[in-house]
């Protein structure tokens, strides 16, 4: 077992693949993690004005399908009943 493997518990090829997956997404769409974070903040601000959501359970991320990328937002809405009780 190599030093790298002992350290990370991972084969170097699978770590290369994971790293490349992230690098390629950002190369392809030219959106930095910082931009993505800002976008998420603004998106949350707009949505919260109309719908009751829990910011900590929101996921906004770039996803790959074949050679195309999409922005995927998963924004759970707080249930109405709980909102009334609160």
């Amino acid at each position: 077992m190599s030093f790298f493997e002992r350290l990370t518990g991972k084969k170097s090829a699978s770590s290369a693949k994971e790293r490349l997956q992230l690098v390629l997404i950002h190369d392809r769409v030219d959106i930095t993690p910082a931009v993505l974070e800002a976008l998420k903040e603004e998106l949350l601000a707009v949505i919260s004005r109309h719908v009751d959501i829990d910011p900590s359970s929101v996921h906004v991320e770039l996803a790959t399908e074949g050679r195309s990328q999409r922005l995927v937002a998963d924004i759970p809405i707080k249930p109405v009943a709980r909102r009334r009780a609160a």
Binding site: K11, S12, A13, S14, A16, K17, R19, L20, D27, R67
Partner: protein, 264 residues
């Protein structure tokens, strides 16, 4: 005849473009086809030595473009294969002496008389790359199973998409099967997953490649190396044949790959 223009490019340097051009050219010409290779790497001429034709150069591509010679005069005929020609790059001149429209004009002039025109692109995504892809009917991207080569290949695929070129195909060169087995090299499956373009060839790491270029005899001429066989198979695929991939790794993976590539 209407010659088909195939451009071999990569993004990253040193991954095997020139080796690929020389070997595909020999394989196609050995099959009785008329083939012209164009060295598009102005200032870093190399295809001539890999093909063993360096002593025969009189005129080069810039001489053609600037009208100092007829196209035919700059076409060096191969010693062994009379239907194989090389148009060498200029070694000393300004990189910008050739433009994309010059390349289109040159290829249009050659097309009626040949079966294949293979263009050896320089590394990078600058002028030389633009020249090399300008006339391409089909682009082959060479990569190695290695981080930066794959990343740069992806950039090139993106640029070709933006230019609305036909979908390129991928050649994975210098694959080391035992490193893949050990989990220390990206497999062809991994590279395909990342780039998602059709795989047209898988060439193993093979010391015969260096021996061949020392001798100036592309290894597709001498039968028995694995890399030579891999290049010959790519040539057959360019001719539209369905050829299974070599068994360089475990059976299962290669069968899956063959299906992947066959599906297009």
């Amino acid at each position: 005849m209407t010659g088909k223009v195939i451009t071999i490019t990569s993004g990253k340097g040193g991954v095997g473009k020139t080796t690929t051009v020389a070997n595909l050219a020999v394989a196609l010409a050995a099959d009785g086809k008329k083939v012209v290779c164009i060295d598009g790497d102005i200032g870093l001429r190399n295809l001539d030595v890999v093909m063993g034709l360096e002593n025969r150069i009189v005129y080069d591509i810039v001489d053609i473009v600037e009208g100092r010679c007829k196209t035919r005069q700059a076409m060096i005929r191969d010693k062994r294969l009379p239907e194989l020609f090389l148009i060498p790059a200029a070694q000393t001149r300004d990189k910008n002496a050739v433009s994309p429209s010059d390349m289109v004009r040159l290829c249009d002039e050659l097309r009626p008389d040949v079966d294949w025109i293979l263009i050896d692109s320089p590394a990078g995504i600058e002028r030389g790359f633009r020249n090399a892809i300008a006339a391409a009917d089909k682009v082959l991207i060479v990569t190695n199973p290695e981080m930066s080569a794959v990343r740069d290949a992806d950039r090139v695929v993106g640029l070709l998409e933006a230019e609305e070129k036909n979908a390129p195909s991928l050649i994975v060169n210098r694959l080391n099967p035992s490193m893949v087995k050990r989990g220390d090299m990206l497999s062809v499956d991994d590279v395909y997953d990342l780039l998602r373009i059709d795989v047209i060839g898988i060439v193993p790491e093979d010391e015969n490649v260096i021996v061949a270029s020392n001798k100036g005899v592309p290894l597709t001429i001498e039968a028995r190396s694995k890399a030579g066989l891999a290049f010959r198979n790519i040539a057959r695929r360019l001719n539209g044949e369905q050829v299974p991939f070599l068994e360089l790794e475990s059976q299962g993976l290669w069968e899956r790959l063959a299906r992947l590539a066959g599906r297009k």
